[in-house]
Assembly symmetry: C2
């Protein structure tokens, strides 16, 4: 009996366009992803390998000192599912819209059924069942069942590796860049297998893909109506710059591996919304795709589109730390640790980047990158988002606190916190504000990319203050270790002093935190005069237009409010109302925060409305560009809305806090969490908040304002 | 008897490098320029045609809405002076360093003498005398005298047109961009003449060059020591997209034309510094090159390097209006008018540009351009310098007031003033400052390019206020005309209200005008820790480093103080001292303003020191890049230092003011000025300021604080 809450079908999505379906039903295992195209579709499919990129010099119309030097461009690789099917005259059978797509999130198995036609109208039906290895993550199993509906004659079936054709270059920064330097060679080919090496000569990376089919990669045989041909292909994708695995896997082993992995995952991290089956399924889809997207080996991270597409060039952003890591930290701590380990590995590049922007100590993580070097060509909206440093430090601390993994703290975490804190200490400047010396950050860009290079962005400053405090707290706890990373006593004292005095702009008249020193001086964007088809604004207005108005692409100051939970209720209400009015949500990172914050404020309508858009963003193609890949940060955002919003989960003074904000529309909300080695299960109904300690040692949590001791 | 104050020689320059000399001794006539290379030097020479450019798409690493689309790149054209000289074995004679270069600024004639050697050491001496037509501005005359020192044998001499080889692409924004699309074809070739058509297919422009030599372009003849061969070449350069002139000119006619032009110019506009011959000559060089650089037909302007090189891609900047036009206006009003007429012709492009940055009415002139469209690829330091609009309006008003040319006002000027004022009215925003509604300009960049996208840049705001006031003043004077350009009564009232309320940031504690709302909050650049070889800073620091400090590339607030003469003396002293400390003068536009302002303030030492660097900037290669071309704005700046600084010339309440600040080192300063159809001659000595009305109707001027009626 299948769990329908874990069964995605065509009924769950808003469009039947092949490239859109290829994204939504894409399968991944963190190492690679396989878009879910019809095997006869040469355009929608392809394989994405996390971290595989080609370099090319960034072209600037006008370049200046310290600009990012090289593009890092993720490359779409041959579609492993691709199969050509030809009739006796060598004419192709081509797929029509799928009659069925079933994605079993409980086992990771995708089953698709496509009607096929040849030019004379003869019909076949193709069923493809695919599954990706999860611990056996270099492998995929693809089985094909080809049934003749009314065709009688010779049928030729071939599986081969073919490089996808690149689209033309576009000006949309979210679109992949065409690249032309790849070197592709067949290294081995026989009747039952084929191996292709793809080399990116400028980045120096290479990958090997392999197809193996015991029935022969090319097969010719007669078929009659109702007859079914079956074949199974095992595909493999090597790790970057390594030889293809010599391990042999069987179809059964691969299926069992996937099944076991997903069963374990759901047991530990399932979230069930009772009373809203479609939303429940959408949320499960999101969590499934989050896990499918994340690099697990410590050398890769999560691309903006995961492994479902090459939009945003396969780059890693702050999205990981602020929108996805909460989920990984509470659901799959091993993945969380791997992602933060990646940041640890790119610390040398981050130190270099700090020197490039003229800061003499510490590290500055790159805004968009695969290899750790800055790859953004427009620094005012990228490198100037210095807050990424504090975002990563925040995520390290959260990981250590929530998992209790002090091994990671000593191996990697403390060094990350120390290097980022040193950055802030040397980047900031003491400056008088209303007669008092305050620690200020000039010419920074906050999360809201409709403003750039402002002074004392509230979010940036609040995060930097936290980053400095973390260094002081952890540094004082482990003074000898801290000293190795330059956190001697004098430095810690300077950091404590700076942290205490970080300028946090506040508008006394409005009674709210101000996005930056001068944000409120600017006129409010003329929303009334802006037609609907002019959104997202960035595609229709010059940055110099956007920058001179009060208009937000996404939650900025409110994101700080959400993270720190330190704004008095009345002020928070004013703040929410003010910023909501000027926010376009043109970024997919916006709505989840508006939802979670509204839930905690008891504004159920807003919380629910924003959640509806968040949880189904890609399923209804809300942003209009899901063909390029999933909005993975928003997938994480939907978990934030449910768990940290409706269930009010957060940590306060080192204690886990749960607050029941269950929406009226739902009957029950069940959440599984991993917490400091324990497995907790929260069950929220309208009258009750139950917290079960499924596994682990006793603990006291705070539930709806009351201390609640837990034991099993 | 030659006027030695108008005779530039090798003794006047700091370097003997061929490419440097080719710039300094370049000859121009506004239409085209000829670099002064040795005729056998294939690398340093070339022809520059004002306004001739090729287009190519600007490459952006990351592009957004409204970015400039196309590069406009001035093209270095074949060296008209080029001559190959070969011995009997067809081996080349090559020039060594010139033994003499004499540039007669009184007649426009350049005479150079180069020793030549062939590979076996045989010697010739080549004398080249060149002159450019001035009213006959499509022609140049180049005569060669080739004397054998010790060579005996056959000599082959050839003059032909050859396209220069482009250098490699560099990241220095001041360097020319290599272009590869030009189509070059010989359209006619015979024994005595050769014509070449050069087409820039993307911009659609074309140019025809022609060489004619009655002795034959190729000539072979025997020569013995002390024998002299002579030949004369007449070169012509067609106007852009026009046929080559069919007019025939003789060498004599060309020489006479040049002689007459320069004689007339010096009679009207000479400035003589007595007691400092080298400076006097340097100043004459500057004025000569200014006149040689400026387009005179109303369809071109003055490139940053004039016609002496293709640095900055041959683009026109605000340099014209703010640094050169004062000179042209007072010295060569016809040229001033032509340059402003160019702006009038590109008003349609400027209106389009205003729409691109989201301003619904008015026009925004492009920051760097040839054809009127924005060609800058880094908007924060270019398009965001909105002040160019007010700079142009200021120059229009100054031109009309100083020349009395109301015809131009009605034909072009009023429309320019109206369109720029409308831009400010719709670009600005009412915003409360200290409880009062002020008219503010957000996210603008002032002249100082070491800050970007600030709020209420003092210079920008002061200029905008003036631009709005000009529209009100002229609009009320000519209401019917003004209405045609959208200056109806309501608009004029709104402009007057806005002008009166323009925010002008002032720091009460420092008692000085503030560069922008938050400039003084930032820390001061760590000058003590900055080694000398890190200047200019822009080549060694990331913009994000420069932007977060108080550090100026050039005069910014002080430029406004200089232009408006409206800051009380004590405040001005504080302001000068403050800004001087944070200014690097990394821009060639800086020192002249510091000099002129210091002179007016009575700070002779500063005035003189800055003037010394200004007046000789290219002659001592102060900026280190004179090989790319002259710093034409600074040439104009040196006139500003002398005339508006040491002689304190400006207009106040519609009256011409002269203030004697003659430096001690000088005996006398004589300045010829054109003023409202009159010719004035100022003679400043240490005890006296004489103003002669050389020609024209009586007038009262204000001299050293006293009214002085003039009549002839």
């Amino acid at each position: 009996m299948k769990d329908l809450s874990k069964m995605m079908t065509l009924a769950d999505v808003s469009s039947q366009k092949p490239a859109y379906l290829a994204t939504i039903f894409a399968q991944g295992n963190g190492h690679f992803g396989m878009r879910a195209s019809a095997p006869t579709d040469a355009e929608s499919g392809g394989t994405i390998v996390n971290g595989f990129y080609e370099s090319s010099p960034i072209q600037y119309g006008e370049k200046a000192f310290g600009y990012a030097e090289n593009n890092q461009t993720a490359v779409l690789l041959p579609d492993l599912r691709r199969m050509s099917i030809r009739n006796a005259e060598e004419q192709p059978f081509l797929a029509e819209a799928p009659s069925s797509l079933k994605f079993d999130l409980a086992s990771g198995e995708l089953r698709g059924v496509w009607p096929l036609r040849d030019p004379s109208g003869s019909r076949l039906e193709l069923t493809v069942v695919s599954v990706l290895g999860q611990t056996l993550d270099q492998f995929a199993l693809i089985t094909y069942q080809l049934r003749s509906v009314d065709y009688r004659g010779l049928l030729t079936v071939s599986n081969h590796l073919t490089m996808p054709v690149f689209g033309a270059a576009t000006d949309d920064p979210r679109q992949p860049r065409p690249i032309h330097t790849l070197q592709v060679s067949a290294t081995q080919k026989d009747a039952v297998s084929e191996t292709m090496r793809i080399k990116a000569p400028t980045s120096g990376q290479q990958i090997t893909l392999k197809l193996a089919c015991q029935d022969g990669l090319d097969r010719v045989q007669p078929i009659v109506p109702e007859q079914v041909l079956t074949r199974a292909v095992i595909a493999s994708v090597s790790r970057i710059n390594r030889q293809a695995s010599r391990k042999r896997v069987t179809p059964d082993a691969l299926q069992a591996d996937a099944k076991q992995f997903w069963t374990d995952f759901w047991a530990k991290a399932d979230v069930q919304i009772e009373g809203a089956p479609a939303l429940n399924r959408a949320l499960h889809f999101n969590l499934f795709q989050l896990v499918s997207s994340a690099g697990r080996g410590g050398l890769t991270n999560v691309a903006a589109k995961g492994v479902s597409g090459v939009g945003y060039e396969g780059h890693y952003f702050w999205d990981t730390e602020m929108y996805m890591l909460p989920f990984y930290t509470y659901a799959t701590p091993d993945i969380a640790k791997a992602l933060l380990t990646y940041r640890y590995h790119v610390l040398p590049q981050a130190k270099k980047q700090a020197r490039i922007v003229g800061v003499k100590d510490g590290a500055l993580f790159s805004w968009r990158t695969i290899n750790g070097e800055e790859a953004s060509a427009y620094f005012p909206a990228s490198t100037a988002q210095f807050h990424i440093d504090a975002d990563i430090a925040y995520a390290v601390d959260r990981y250590v606190q929530v998992t209790g993994d002090e091994t990671f703290l000593h191996a990697c975490g403390l060094e990350i916190i120390a290097e980022t804190a040193k950055f802030w200490l040397h980047f900031g400047a003491w400056s008088p504000v209303d007669g008092k010396q305050r620690f200020c950050f000039f010419d920074v860009t906050g999360p809201d990319e409709y403003s750039a290079m402002v002074n004392n962005n509230y979010y940036t400053n609040r995060m930097a203050k936290h980053n400095l405090s973390l260094a002081v707290d952890w540094g004082r706890r482990f003074p000898e270790e801290a000293q190795q990373f330059g956190l001697d006593d004098a430095t810690l004292t300077a950091m404590a002093k700076a942290a205490a005095a970080v300028e946090l702009p506040f508008d006394a008249q409005l009674g709210i935190n101000a996005q930056d020193d001068e944000a409120f001086k600017k006129p409010i964007w003329p929303f009334a005069d802006t037609p609907k088809d002019k959104y997202p604004l960035l595609l229709h207005y010059h940055p110099l237009t956007l920058y001179r108005y009060q208009v937000n692409k996404q939650a900025d100051t409110l994101l700080a409010d959400y993270l720190f939970d330190d704004v008095p209720a009345a002020q928070l209400r004013r703040e929410y109302a003010y910023y909501e009015k000027i926010t376009t949500h043109d970024s997919s990172l916006s709505r989840s925060i508006f939802s979670a914050l509204a839930a905690r404020m008891g504004d159920e309508k807003r919380a629910y409305d924003y959640f509806m858009d968040t949880v189904r963003m890609d399923l209804i193609d809300l942003q209009g560009n899901a063909t390029d890949g999933l909005h993975v940060a928003n997938l994480g955002g939907s978990w934030l809305s449910v768990v940290t919003g409706f269930a009010g989960v957060r940590r306060r003074s080192g204690q886990l806090v749960i607050e029941n904000h269950l929406p009226k529309a739902w009957r029950k909300l069940v959440i599984n969490l991993q917490y400091q080695g324990r497995h907790l299960r929260l069950t929220l109904t309208h009258n009750k908040t139950v917290v079960d300690l499924v596994e682990g040692t006793p603990l006291t949590v705070r539930v709806d304002g009351q201390e609640r001791p837990l034991k099993n």
